[in-house]
């Protein structure tokens, strides 16, 4: 997300660190800053906010909070906790939500008698920094607040909606084939999965919920009265529709990543203040608010202990350092003794109502079911227990009766239970409990149980253990892990931090602020060397075999024009299938390399590849090789024979036009080679040298030198004469002959000339060859033939 330095500065009284330093702090402790762009009078950061922080940090306030957390600079008091709008309930606008799962909240604010006009320069500049063009003051205000707080907003021209006593806005699913012309003047056709905002009096669509507003009630210079919408839509639903319509907007991205419904009234407060400052007339007034909030929930809590933190990070951070980090972020936190806190919470819940499947986020602390009550008490002391009784049974450690302490759990199976569990669901799923379990209570003394059940008239009660077990079979006592280990930090998670849910999330939060650079390497315990499997051993053995025999290993593409497994979304029409053989790839590699044979200085082109191929039967490792047919050179038959000797089995290669392939996976099943650890392949140790894109030119030269001379001296001499265009050579013929003056040996070479930056001409090479000949003939007893 683009973040403006000047905009951030507005959140602080003190001067922010230099942009470069800020970028460094964010990169090392929060997000990667991908670029820092200096603009006229401002600096714009491009910050890579990943999905875990897209709930709260696709906004300037989110980044400002991070900066405050990481640098210790104090946020301005009024911006630290933005206020919610307060307004009377609207008398003229009603709002209804048909699908509460998809719309967790919708808040509408009616402002009358405003003036739509051009935005002030500061606002245009702020939006400009975000890469946005100014539309008008009202639309710009809604966009500004979105970039500031992360809450998308929409403004409707109220007079363009139908009034029928009141104006009515409804959130409902689209009908199949229903269409809408959006603000981008494009028409979108929708289906039942898409969510719409519609005019409740006409049932006509006004916008695609969370994605794009409609043309029908667009704000224009004629607009007098507006309805501002701040809503919260389900992330999955918005994502599905946005993807299907290929319509990703600033609003949809924020909803897709999920934001807290808690934001809407704060955003309306801010946008309303802004509109009063830039679109006001003498008569401007807030008429009222309509707010429907089906998705209301409690604040989450999560916890950790100091040793859990240090054990995961591998550091030794002190309690006071943790406390100071928590305080810097302004977290509400406490450090509790778990067992005492657990029992205390449990006792405070006596009298709460029973509700099967009650949510500990939405229904607590008024209603619980048996295991929800236990999980809630654990949450309060920073222990995350599984939610349902059977999982709690498996999660907790078994203890004997004599060890029972207040805060331990008792499990049971109800007589004629409607829904006993015989295996765990979420925790170590599938763990069997043969005898079944369906109920859990908390021991509050040696023989008293606190529990809630559908059979309890009064909801959560404390009763003697004997009474608890009257219509139940005991499944014994268990102890909540971590309950006696050490005190735990319990953090109340702010609404917007949807990423902080479990212990590990909090440990990351502390760890990154503390600084990962303070983690020092700690050696792992030494264990014995790990042995290879047969496939791994044989693969290396075979690769070594081919390389030692003068083959080069190639890797070619897995995508091909033809095959047996077709891709749904290929990159190109000639890459539609997964290869079912290595031959196509190695064939084309062979043809290319054959053209460069002289340049490469090779006497025979020899290639092999090992890799996965995909047939109707599935996936297997294939081995293929290619070998140029030459006189006196290596041959496929000899290669096969040697390979058979090496592996001690028969190897059947299928042959296709001089290319050989075998199913390596099934081949080695038959091999009973003794496994060994092999040393890794050793390369030349070279650094890559660019090769030319221009054609090369060849010249042959044969030189007589006195027998017994040093052959390498010939090449040195040739190089001296040929200069830098001489790139390679191959010795292709050697013979010795008697001369009157004594025995002489003839060496015949093929010389390769190539330029990195142009196509060479014959004339250029002729001149070079003249020079080479001159240099050689000058040597005593040497003669170019």
């Amino acid at each position: 997300m683009r973040i403006s330095y000047n905009w951030l500065q507005e959140y602080f009284d003190e001067k922010l660190p230099r942009a470069e330093d800020l970028s460094e702090v964010l990169t090392m402790h929060a997000f990667e800053v991908e670029s820092v762009e200096k603009t006229e009078g401002d600096v714009v950061f491009d910050i890579k906010v990943l999905p875990d922080r897209s709930h709260d940090c696709l906004s300037h306030i989110g980044i400002a909070r991070e900066i405050s957390f990481l640098t210790g600079l104090t946020l301005k008091e009024n911006l630290k906790n933005p206020k919610e709008i307060t307004a009377p309930e609207s008398n003229v606008v009603r709002v209804e939500v048909e699908d509460e799962k998809k719309c967790r909240r919708i808040s509408l604010l009616v402002i009358e008698d405003i003036e739509v006009k051009e935005s002030p320069d500061w606002l245009k500049a702020s939006l400009g920094a975000m890469g946005q063009r100014s539309v008008n003051n009202v639309v710009d205000a809604t966009n500004f607040v979105m970039f500031n707080m992360g809450q998308p907003l929409h403004a409707y021209d109220r007079d363009l909606l139908k009034e029928d006593g009141v104006w009515k806005i409804v959130v409902r699913n689209a009908k199949s084939g229903e269409n809408l012309t959006a603000l981008d003047n494009k028409e979108y056709i929708l289906d039942e999965e898409d969510l719409l905002i519609v005019d409740g009096n006409t049932n006509l669509p006004l916008g695609i919920a969370g994605i794009k507003g409609g043309k029908a009630c667009e704000i224009s210079s004629k607009t007098k009265h507006i309805i501002l919408e701040a809503a919260n839509f389900d992330s999955i639903s918005v994502r599905r529709t946005a993807k299907k319509l290929s319509l990703r907007t600033d609003a949809s991205v924020r909803f897709e990543n999920e934001i807290t419904p808690d934001l809407t009234l704060r955003a309306l407060k801010e946008v309303s203040d802004l509109i009063f400052s830039i679109a006001k007339t003498d008569k401007t007034q807030v008429e009222g608010l309509a707010d429907v909030y089906p998705g209301r929930s409690n604040l989450y809590k999560a916890g950790f202990s100091l040793s859990e933190l240090n054990d995961i990070l591998g550091i030794n951070i002190s309690q006071s350092e943790v406390e100071s980090i928590l305080n810097r972020r302004g977290y509400e936190w406490e450090r509790v003794e778990p067992r005492a806190g657990f029992v205390e919470t449990a006792k405070s819940l006596v009298g709460t109502k029973y509700k099967f499947g009650a949510s500990i986020i939405k229904d607590a602390p008024k209603e619980f079911d048996c295991s929800g009550l236990v999980a809630f008490c654990a949450v309060k002391v920073g222990i995350a227990l599984p939610r349902i009784s059977v999982d709690q049974y498996v999660f907790c450690d078994s203890i004997i009766d004599a060890e029972i302490k207040p805060g331990d759990l008792v499990f049971a199976l109800t007589e004629d239970s409607p829904s006993p569990y015989f295996e765990s669901k979420e925790w170590m799923s599938g763990t069997k409990i043969e005898e079944g379990v369906d109920h859990v209570g908390i021991m509050v003394s040696q023989n008293e149980v606190l529990h809630t059940s559908r059979y309890n008239q009064d909801g959560a009660i404390i009763e003697p253990l004997d009474d608890f077990l009257k219509n139940r079979e005991s499944r014994g006592f268990r102890r909540v892990p971590y309950i006696d280990v050490e005190k735990r930090f319990v953090i109340t998670i702010p609404h917007e931090r949807l990423d902080l849910r479990i212990k590990e999330d909090l440990i990351e939060e502390i760890g990154r602020c503390y600084g990962y650079q303070k983690i020092n390497p700690v050696a792992v315990a030494a264990v014995s060397i790990a042995e290879p499997t047969k496939e791994q051993y044989c693969e290396r053995l075979v690769k070594n075999f081919f390389v030692e025999r003068g083959f080069s290993e190639v890797l070619t593409y897995s995508f091909q024009e033809e095959g047996q497994s077709e891709l749904e979304n290929p990159l190109a029409s000639d890459k539609k299938f997964l290869r079912d053989s290595l031959v196509t790839g190695i064939k084309s590699s062979f043809a290319n390399n054959l053209r460069n044979k002289d340049l490469l200085g090779l006497s025979q082109i020899k290639l092999f590849e090992m890799g996965s191929v995909f047939t109707k039967e599935g996936e297997n490792t294939s081995l293929a090789f290619a070998i140029e047919k030459t006189k006196g050179g290596d041959s496929a038959e000899e290669v096969t024979k040697s390979l058979e000797t090496l592996l001690g089995i028969k190897v059947n290669f299928s042959e296709d036009d001089g290319f050989y392939e075998t199913n390596f996976s099934s081949l080695i099943e038959g091999s009973d080679k003794k496994l060994e650890l092999l040393s890794p392949a050793v390369g030349s140790g070279a650094r890559f040298k660019t090769y030319s894109q221009y054609p090369f030119i060849l010249r042959d030269i044969a030189v007589f030198v006195p027998e017994g001379g040093d052959e390498s001296e010939i090449i040195t001499t040739i190089r001296e004469g040929a200069g830098e265009l001489f790139v390679n050579h191959r010795l292709f013929d050697v013979f010795t002959k008697d001369f009157p003056e004594g025995k002489k040996t003839s060496y015949a070479y093929r010389l390769v000339f190539q330029s990195l930056n142009k196509t060479l001409t014959d004339d250029e090479i002729n001149l070079i060859m003249d020079e080479v000949t001159k240099k050689i003939n000058k040597k005593d007893g040497w003669q170019v033939r």
Binding site: D311, D505, S565, K606, S612
Partner: protein, 247 residues
């Protein structure tokens, strides 16, 4: 380039040079080499790694799907599925690396290929920390690159780890002075890593009250390019001996 009438020298592909050395370094630390299929199921590639359907995190991996789409088969986008597959048949303590080919549905250029090699590392034991991760990564990079290497962790996000980090290594070319290899920063971004997410341990049927672990994923192509100075990732798959026979 060599030349001789009789014996012609063979050459390993640069990827093999890196992988074989990598395997030996890790075997010495007690890490077995594990493998898994290149055609994966949606479950192993995503769901088991705490990347549920419809989660925006799925956009972090552009995916090739096989026909028919309803079959839920895809080309693995990382080697992480091998973690879960391995844990299904092994109990902790676990030390593995899983090298292999992975695929991303993206336009190719000098630094992006639709197919490339990745190395997954996983260690699960009763006591494992980010400090152990740092040790193992530095041990590996120093041995592989034959140079003194420092690493630094930065916060990052991968759904299958928590905490998640991005690992930078000190530039082995300029030793932090700033050169072209490290874009003048002294650091090279080299891999993603972190502590295995409890949900992934659950998918592995490993008791996260008792065990924890670290995991990392490093691009082998990138290491090969850095070590050998290969300027364009596409060269690795052209089967061109003008490149391969240099090594």
């Amino acid at each position: 380039m060599s030349s001789n009438t009789d014996t012609q020298k063979g050459h390993f592909h640069p990827i093999s040079l890196i992988l074989q050395k990598t395997e030996n370094i890790f075997r010495d630390l007690g890490f077995s080499v594990a493998s898994g299929p290149e055609v994966e199921t949606e479950y192993y590639n995503f769901d088991s790694l705490n990347i549920p359907a419809h989660h925006p995190a799925r956009d972090m991996w552009d995916t090739f799907w096989l026909k028919p789409k309803e079959g839920g088969k895809l080309l693995r986008t990382h080697t992480s599925p091998v973690q879960v597959r391995y844990a299904e048949s092994h109990t902790p303590p676990i030390r593995i690396i899983a090298p292999g080919k992975v695929f991303r549905h993206e336009a190719t250029d000098a630094t992006h290929e639709a197919q490339f090699y990745q190395l997954e590392g996983l260690m699960i034991d009763k006591e494992v920390s980010l400090a152990n991760l740092k040790y193992v990564i530095e041990f590996y990079l120093e041995k592989l690159l034959d140079a003194k290497v420092e690493t630094r962790f930065r916060p990052s996000f991968f759904p299958f780890v928590e905490p998640g980090v991005e690992v930078d290594m000190s530039c082995f070319k300029c030793r932090g002075e700033g050169c072209n290899t490290c874009k003048k920063t002294g650091w090279i971004e080299i891999m993603g890593a972190g502590m295995v997410h409890p949900k992934v341990l659950q998918a592995m049927k490993i008791d996260s009250r008792v065990y924890k672990g670290f995991a990392f994923g490093v691009g082998i192509d990138r290491l090969a390019m850095l070590k050998f100075g290969i300027p364009d990732v596409r060269m690795l798959y052209e089967g061109d001996l003008r490149m391969i026979n240099q090594f």
